[in-house]
C-alpha cells in the first residue's frame, strides 16, 4: 500500500507559550512494498510524523493519503485505516497488559472481530514470525519474560493484525546487540516474505543502512535528505552537522579513499568493505 504525504504541518500546544512546530511542510511519497528508513535526532519530528499515518494525530494543515484513502479528509473511518497500518511504538513492551502472552497478542485480532479459529491461527503465526515458541510461552504471563522477549510479544501483537503497512518506532532501543540484530533480521524476513510496506524509525545509521531501500532524514521538523542509502551517505558532512553519523565502515572507507583515490567508498556493510579492500589489494599487486 502506498503513502502520500503532502505539505503536512503539525503544531503542538498552539497559541500557548509552549507552542512548538513539530512538523513543517513535509512532503513524502512511499511506494507499495518499499522498505523505508526514517532517521532523525531526538525531537526531529519522526515520531510525530508516523503517528499521523495511523490517524492518531491530525495534521494542523496538509493532506495524507494511504492507499486510496485520504485520511485527513472529513468523516474517515479511522478503524479501517488502523487495520491496514500497524504501528509499533517505542518501548512497545510497556503496552502489555493481559495475563497471558496468548491473550495479549490476541487483543488486536479480537478488536478486528475475527473468529476464534482465525485469531488462534494469527497468534500462532505471529509468534512464529518473531521466533517465540508457541507451546511453551502461550500460557506464561508477559511480565515474567525477559526484556527482549517482551518486546517480541508486543511486536507480535501488532503483526497479528496483518497490517499492509508496518511502522516500527525504534524497535531496537534499549536492547543488547544480539537482541537488536535478531529483531532487525526478523523485520527484514517479514518484509521479504510479505512484500509489505515497512517504515523503520531509528537514529542509528548502522541499523538502517543494510536493511532499507530508501532513507529519509528528518531534522527540525523538515525533510533534510532522502534517497538510496549510498546517496545519502555521500553527504557525510551534512549528516554530521545535524548530529547524525554515517555507518562506521562507510566512514573508514571514506578515509581510505583519501589515502588512495582508487578505493570505492560507497560501502554499507563490513562484508562489502572486505570485498572492496581485497579488490584494491589485488589491483595494486597487478600494477
Amino acid at each position: 500500500m502506498s503513502i502520500k504525504i503532502e505539505n503536512v504541518t503539525y503544531i503542538y500546544n498552539p497559541k500557548s507559550p509552549f507552542e512548538t512546530k513539530a512538523l513543517d511542510g513535509i512532503n513524502i511519497e512511499i511506494a507499495d512494498g518499499e522498505f523505508i528508513g526514517l532517521i532523525g535526532h531526538t525531537g526531529s519530528g519522526k515520531s510525530t510524523l508516523i503517528q499521523h499515518l495511523n490517524g492518531l494525530i491530525k495534521p494542523t494543515s496538509g493532506k495524507i493519503t494511504v492507499g486510496d484513502l485520504v485520511i485527513t479528509g472529513e468523516k474517515v473511518k479511522l478503524a479501517d485505516l488502523r487495520k491496514k497500518v500497524g504501528l509499533v511504538f517505542q518501548y512497545p513492551e510497556h503496552q502489555l497488559f493481559e495475563e497471558t502472552v496468548y491473550k495479549d497478542i490476541a487483543f488486536g485480532p479480537k478488536n478486528l472481530n475475527l473468529s476464534e479459529s482465525e485469531i488462534d491461527e494469527r497468534v500462532r503465526e505471529s509468534m512464529e514470525l518473531v521466533k517465540l515458541d508457541f507451546e511453551s510461552l502461550k500460557e506464561r504471563s508477559p511480565f515474567e519474560l525477559s526484556g527482549g522477549q517482551r518486546r517480541r510479544v508486543a511486536i507480535a501483537g501488532v503483526l497479528a493484525m496483518k497490517p499492509d503497512i508496518l511502522i516500527l518506532d525504534e524497535p531496537t532501543a534499549g536492547l543488547d546487540p544480539r537482541g537488536r540484530d535478531e529483531i532487525l533480521e526478523q523485520i527484514k524476513y517479514l518484509h521479504d516474505k510479505y512484500q509489505n510496506t515497512v517504515i523503520l524509525v531509528s537514529h542509528s545509521m548502522e541499523d538502517i543502512a543494510k536493511l532499507v531501500d530508501r532513507i529519509i532524514v528528518m531534522h527540525g521538523g523538515k525533510i533534510e535528505l532522502q534517497g538510496f542509502p549510498r546517496e545519502v551517505f555521500k553527504q557525510s558532512k551534512r549528516l554530521e552537522s545535524i548530529g547524525l553519523g554515517i555507518p562506521q565502515i562507510t566512514h573508514l572507507m571514506e578515509k581510505l579513499k583519501k589515502v588512495d583515490g582508487s578505493i570505492q567508498e560507497e560501502v554499507l556493510t563490513v562484508e562489502e568493505a572486505k570485498v572492496e579492500i581485497l579488490r584494491w589489494i589485488r589491483s595494486n599487486k597487478d600494477a
Partner: protein, 266 residues
Amino acid sequence: MLKDITIGQHYPTGSAIHKMDPRVKIIITFIYIVSLFVVNNFIGYIYVIAFLLSAILISKVPVTYILKGLKPLMILIGITFMINIFMTAGEVVFRIGPFTITEEGLYQAFFMALRLVFLVMGTSLLTLTTSPIALTDGIEHILNPFKRIGVPAHELAMMMTIALRFIPTLLEETDKIMKAQIARGADFESGNLISRAKGLVPLLVPLFISSFRRADELAMAMEARCYRGGENRTRMKELKTQGKDYFALSVGTLLIALLIVNRIWF
C-alpha cells in the same frame, strides 16, 4: 488528548509577580481568599476586581488563559447559581411553573457566582505565576513553625513536589499507552458504561505497572544519593523577601482592611 488540562500549570512570563517570593504569594493568596468571604455587597467587589485585574496585568498572563481555567468549574458555578436563584425566599419577581425567582435570589445568585469566579481566578493566578518547585518550597517554609507540633513539613513538601513532578510524565505516559492500544484497535470512546470501564483495562494495567516501576526507580535513585529527609538539608536557592514582596503584602493588607471597613460601613 489530555493536553487541555490547565490546573496547576505554570505560565512563565518572567514578570515581577513571577519573581516574587513564593511564601509571600501564598500568604497574599490566603489573604485574598479570606477577603473574598469578608465581602458582603457588590461595592466590595470593586476593590476585589481592581486588585485581581492589576495583579493579572502585572503578571502578563493573558486574561483568556486564566478564563480558560474556569471551564471545568462552569458546572459547579452553574449549579450554585441555580440553587441560589430558585431557593432564596423573598419578594417574587416572576414565576416559571413551580419555580419562583425572587429579587433576593437574583442578588444572591450573582453574588455567589462572582465569588466563585474570583476565587478560582485568584488562586489559579498563584499556580500560573509560581513554578511547582517554588510553590512547594514556599509551603514547606510556611509549615516549618508547625514542625514542633509534629507536622512533617519537609516530607509533605517532598511528596507534593514528587506528585507535581510526575503529573506531566503520567499524562504523557497515558497518552502514549492510549495511542498504542488505539493502534491495536482498542476503543475508549464508545459503548455503554460497563464496556467503557472494561475498555480501560488495557490502559490502566500498563499505567499502574509503569507507575510502580517509576516509584521504585526514583526511591532507589534518591537513596543512592543519600537522601534521608529534611534534617540539615540546605538549599541552592534560598528564598529571599525583597522590596516588592513587602509592597505586595501591604497592598494585600490594604485590600482586606478596605473590605472590613466596607463591611462595617454599609
